[in-house]
């Protein structure tokens, strides 16, 4: 018994199987975590090697190069880049996507061990660090305080950080810009020298005073008493009263030579939030944790915790990656809902029968739920890719049910009972239904084979659409007949129905449409000579539109945040930088109403650690993070806001360089910049070339934020010793440098212990004794002979430009000039940039290459072109085997070029650029549009086979298939419409796909209805008719001579 026969005969089993499937699906849905993107392991490893004291170029020759040579042979390695800074070498290794990183890091480790012996002795062992997308903080809070500011570190540590760390899924909680407490002993050098003291002596005395010593036991009577000497300072005031020396019989107290300041740590790093002094709290999640859940828990916990904090401490959210996720997910859920509603309306419009509509609509939840089961089993999450895939599939899953139901209805109208009709009508179409679905799967399944970053996005899309469609076919040939048998009733069309009923209005309209179509097609068949040239003209004309719309990689999504970096003259003091920062702050607040929160960090944090490796920072740089209003509450997009911030910053004379970026760190798509890489060993030559190019690129229309990757040289003061004099005084470089360091940077003498915490006590020169070169030269140094000499006597203080960091890529030195496109297609900007590059004279040995998102785009488009070819071949194979003909698929595939025409026209009309996403839409169209043509051509073949004359067959088929074609197209088009029109969070990414599919499908449907019949008439003139006579009966000569008597 056939599957549909069994299904109809056992309705209870059939229905319950689907109920069970729904239950499993809904269970999976509740278990699925919500995230922005599918979890991917970023294929990056980095190797850090520190070599204290070495300059950037030393690091390059002694560390980076040997390591690079050793690592180049690691398998699956895609690219090797490196950065050699003073003291540290960082090598980034990028692997192919989906390569096993554990294996890779083992390879890296063993390759490192070969060269480790060749590294300089003082260099520390290389450290391998694995990147992980969960290293990105998921939420940032700004914390501001007034009165309690000074004690904030302790308060936050105890009452906020520790409780937050206990939340499930929180990986780590970090604070930056925290004011730490420190005790400074600011010594007056003149007084100090007058009393014959040195910083080191003062430090030693403080250290010696600040001790608790156990001094043994004494036995008294029956008791044993331990003795302790409590010498530790209780309060910082005690420091001032310590006796540090003796001069002419009098005690010298610390207060005589120095001021003791118990204050917050002097830092050259300031964090401000909305202009007020504040700090940032950031939270990293554990790998695999649910971002939305963790953010919600943290939020709840913080609310509870903030009740116990002093009233002036305010905690405000700066950036929450979950809000974009939630926004996008809600937005997509809405899209999905509208899509479902539209599909229901379309089906109802064409069928005009509630019961039939219900039966068809039921396939939607069943197929979607199958996708949830798939996601659950494979350990995936609900993310914007899986949801978008669902809304793409929603219009297609009803198609098969429609075909089956249509045939069942036909049989019922002919008098069969619903049960019989359900079985025998399904029998007639089930094979055709499966084959048309195969063509769609033939397009979507290859998507799962795409490699690289685009592969991560599209393999899930391909898998989900394939699965939902396959399930929908299964439902169409089991559930649809079963329910039809149970529910469908004969309800003939009433001839004189009232206008307000379906029979009276829509049905009549559809009849009228059929007639119009028959007339059009009849005309078209007799005017082939007009139709064909017009079609060719339209095709080539629309292809030209692709040149106009321009290309880009992936549309930037509006995440309601943007970041800016402002650079002042190198070496600017941080107080000065701070003033500029405040000015920009107030300007932005006054002029740009969309910005709700500004968080600023200025200067460098000495304790920055690893983070400071990734960004260049110094006392002259300011970093901004702007939080904008939610997308729906503002008119301007984030790019326009960024542009107006640029307009504000650019006229400021002190700013020598700035960049405003709209891509946040939560996206995995990386930047959107065009990078021009200049390879060459000569630093000066490549610097000049980079400067020249950046000057030229600034004139290119739409090119913003032109940045050079190599840091500018930094002014620094170098103390150069005269070795001969050093020796004469019996001093060594190490001794003198320690002395200088202790006086300027300070000597950490001891620690003040209070309430279980320790605070550094730092002894150093007071501020106005270390502000000029003369003062540095005046630093007194006590020689071993007890004589005090000045630093200026044994050394020279010189101003000097320190060499920049050295970046390398593919084992060659490289400088990158990057450009951010604004309101102009990437391809156009690159064309202009290439023109500029060709005008520049290249020094010998220098090579220029364009990479960045342009390179990514080129690679992705190549991948897609290949994918398109594969899809075309697969679709052709499926159809050729279905029709058992090599010619029929070609007629059907006539509609594909016009789908691309439609894409071009739609992109042009909506002013959308051709992105990878839109291109994927175009590839998808291959599978979607041939479906229409298959329905039509298949029916023409059938009618021809029944002996009808060619033209008449075409017209009869056209009339009969018009509604199914319109209906399946309309469900797909309207199913995508919400995706194309959506304007909420994250909509920018997917709307080009919606636009492309809608444009392509509308246009190709019209073409299918006119051009495919014309093509059929032209190409199948002798036709498929009497295939049997041609093939099977060809050699049957044995009956020659015997004729019929009729």
């Amino acid at each position: 018994m056939s599957i549909y026969g069994s299904a109809v005969k056992k309705p209870v089993t059939t229905i319950l199987i689907f109920v069970a499937a729904m239950v499993i699906g809904l269970y999976s849905l509740t278990q699925l975590p919500i995230d922005l993107y599918p979890e991917i392991e970023l294929p990056f490893l980095s190797v850090y090697t520190t070599y204290p004291g070495a300059s950037a170029s030393d690091i390059e020759t002694n560390i980076t190069r040997p390591l690079e040579d050793a690592l180049a042979s690691v398998s699956n390695l895609k690219e090797i880049t490196s950065r050699s800074n003073d003291n540290i070498s960082v090598i980034f290794l990028e692997f192919e996507y989906e390569s096993n990183l554990d294996e890779a890091s083992n390879d890296v480790r063993s390759n490192l061990s070969f060269v480790q012996g060749q590294l300089p002795e003082d260099a520390e062992d290389p450290v391998i660090l694995k990147f992980n997308s969960s290293m990105m903080p998921i939420v940032f809070y700004a914390i501001t305080a007034n009165e309690s500011y000074a004690g904030l570190e302790k308060i936050l540590d105890e009452r906020v950080v520790n409780p937050l760390n206990r939340i499930e899924g929180v990986g780590s909680v970090g604070l930056s810009g925290v004011p730490g407490r420190e005790i400074y002993v600011d010594v007056d050098p003149q007084k100090m020298e007058a009393y014959h003291l040195t910083i080191e002596q003062i430090g030693n005395i403080l250290r010696a005073e600040n001790v608790n010593v156990p001094a043994g036991y004494i036995e008294m009577g029956k008791t044993d008493y331990p003795i302790r000497i409590q010498g530790e300072f209780q309060e910082s005031e005690q420091l001032a009263n310590v006796v540090v020396g003796n001069y002419a019989g009098n005690n010298i107290y610390l207060r005589d030579v120095a001021t003791v300041l118990d204050t917050i740590r002097e830092s050259r790093f300031v964090e401000k939030v909305n202009g007020g002094r504040g700090m940032t709290l950031f939270i990293q999640k554990m790998s695999g944790a649910n971002t939305v859940q963790v953010c919600r828990d943290v939020e709840k916990e913080l609310k509870a915790l903030s009740k116990d904090l002093p009233s002036d401490v305010k905690i405000e959210k700066i950036f929450d990656s979950s809000s974009f996720i939630k926004g996008s997910i809600n937005n997509l859920t809405e899209t999905l809902m509208y899509a479902a509603i539209f599909v229901v309306l379309v089906v109802l419009f064409f069928l005009g029968r509630w019961r039939a509509t219900f039966i068809i609509i039921l396939t939607i939840p069943i197929s979607l739920v199958a996708a949830f089961v798939y996601l659950f089993i494979t350990g995936n999450s609900i993310n914007i890719i899986s949801l978008s895939s669902l809304s793409i599939a929603i219009g297609m899953v009803v198609d098969d049910a429609i075909v089956v139901l249509e045939n069942i209805t036909k049989h019922i109208e002919r008098g069969s009972s619903p049960r019989e009709a359900a079985i025998y009508a399904t029998n007639e179409v089930w094979l055709a239904v499966i084959v048309t679905t195969l063509t769609v799967v033939a397009v979507f399944l290859p998507l799962t084979f795409v490699k690289g970053l685009t592969g991560v996005m599209f393999s899930q899309l391909g898998m989900i659409v394939s699965i939902t469609i396959i399930v929908s076919v299964f439902a169409a040939i089991t559930l649809t007949p079963t329910l039809s048998a149970l529910m469908l009733k004969v309800k003939p069309i009433r001839e004189n129905a009232p206008f307000f009923s379906w029979d009276g209005s829509i049905h009549k309209f559809l009849e009228w449409l059929d007639n119009i179509y028959v007339r059009t097609i009849r005309w078209a068949l007799h005017h082939k000579k007009v139709i064909v040239p017009v079609a060719i003209f339209v095709f080539f004309g629309s292809m030209a539109l692709f040149g106009i719309v321009g290309a880009e990689f992936i549309p930037q999504s509006d995440e309601s945040t943007c970041t800016a970096t402002v650079e002042l003259q190198t070496g600017t003091r941080y107080e000065q930088t701070l003033k500029v920062a405040d000015r920009i702050d107030s300007l932005v607040k006054a002029d740009i109403p969309e910005v709700t929160l500004i968080s600023t960090s200025t200067g460098t944090d000495d304790a920055g650690g690893f983070a400071s490796l990734f960004s260049t920072s110094g006392t002259h740089t300011i970093s901004y993070q702007f939080t904008l209003l939610p997308v729906k509450e503002r008119k301007r997009g984030v790019e326009e806001v960024a542009e107006s911030i640029r307009q504000l910053i650019s006229p400021m004379p002190e700013v020598i360089n700035y960049s405003v970026s709209t891509s946040s760190n939560s996206g995995m798509m990386g930047g959107n910049t065009v990078d021009v890489e200049i390879y060459g060993y000569d630093i000066t030559a490549t610097n000049l070339l980079a400067e020249e190019l950046s000057k030229r690129f600034k004139t290119v229309q739409g090119a913003k934020d032109v940045q050079i990757s190599r840091d500018k040289s930094k002014p620094e003061l170098q103390i150069q010793f005269d070795n001969e004099k050093l020796l004469r005084y019996g001093l060594t470089t190490a001794q003198v440098s320690t002395i200088v360091k202790n006086r300027i940077d300070g000597l950490t003498a001891t620690r003040l212990r209070q309430f279980g915490d320790e605070y550094d006590v730092i002894v150093r020169f007071k501020k106005d004794a270390r502000n000029t070169i003369t003062e540095v030269e005046n630093i007194g140094i006590t020689t071993p002979a007890g004589e005090v000499i000045r630093l200026g006597e044994i050394a020279q203080v010189k101003e000097y430009w320190s060499p920049p960091n050295i970046e390398r890529k593919r084992k060659e030195r490289v400088v990158t000039v990057s450009v951010t496109p604004y309101k102009r297609a990437l391809s156009d900007i690159v064309a202009d940039m290439q023109k500029e590059i060709s005008q520049v004279e290249k020094p010998s040995g220098v090579m220029i290459q364009i990479s960045g998102s342009y390179e990514d785009m080129q690679e992705s488009f190549m991948d897609l072109a290949l994918l398109m070819v594969v899809s075309l071949i697969l679709v052709y194979l499926v159809m050729a085997s279905q029709f058992e003909s090599l010619k029929m698929p070609i007629i059907i595939m006539l509609s594909i070029p016009f789908a691309f025409s439609g894409v071009g026209i739609a992109l042009f009309l909506t002013n959308t650029k051709l992105s990878v996403i839109a291109a994927i839409g175009a590839v998808m169209l291959i599978g979607i549009v041939v479906k229409n043509a298959i329905v039509l051509v298949d029916f023409i073949n059938l009618v021809r086979d029944r002996g009808v004359e060619l033209y008449e067959a075409v017209i009869i088929s056209g009339r009969s298939r018009l509604r199914p074609v319109l209906m399946t197209s309309a469900t797909t088009i309207l199913g995508m419409l919400p995706l194309a029109l959506s304007s909420g969070e994250g909509a920018e990414i997917w709307s080009p796909m919606g636009i492309a599919v809608i444009g392509g499908l509308v246009f190709s449907t019209l073409v299918t209805l006119i051009l495919v019949p014309v093509g059929y008439v032209l190409m199948a003139r002798r036709g498929e008719r009497d295939k049997k006579h041609k093939v099977a009966y060809r050699d049957m000569k044995f009956l020659d001579g015997i004729e019929s008597v009729n």
Binding site: H411, R414, G415, Y424, E428, A432
Partner: protein
């Protein structure tokens, strides 16, 4: 005793089975998937893509008195929709064993 052969579009299967039961015709032979084509009217029932409809066949050997109601039943089934198609043919049975 007469043999009645009924060739019917499978879409009539359940109606015919009901008729046989109602008329208490116990002995019959049924074939599924029988191809055929009418002499005068109707489309071929070949079970192909072009002519997807397919027939079934019932051969019932019944007493003379049962022939008339059975043919009447076939006529009524045919009246539901003549396009679907059902035909009956009868002939004499000489002997049975």
């Amino acid at each position: 005793m007469k043999a009645v052969m009924i060739i019917y579009n499978v879409a009539h299967t359940e109606k015919l089975e009901f008729a046989l039961e109602k008329l208490e015709i116990r002995g019959y032979t049924q074939w599924d998937n029988v191809k055929g084509q009418g002499t005068l009217t109707g489309v071929p029932h070949l079970g192909t893509h072009t002519w997807p409809e397919i027939n079934g066949a019932v051969l019932a050997v019944v007493s003379d008195s049962q022939v008339f109601p059975l043919l009447e039943a076939v006529k009524r089934i045919n009246k539901v929709n003549e396009e679907v198609g059902i035909r009956a043919f009868t002939w004499e049975i000489q002997e049975t064993v």
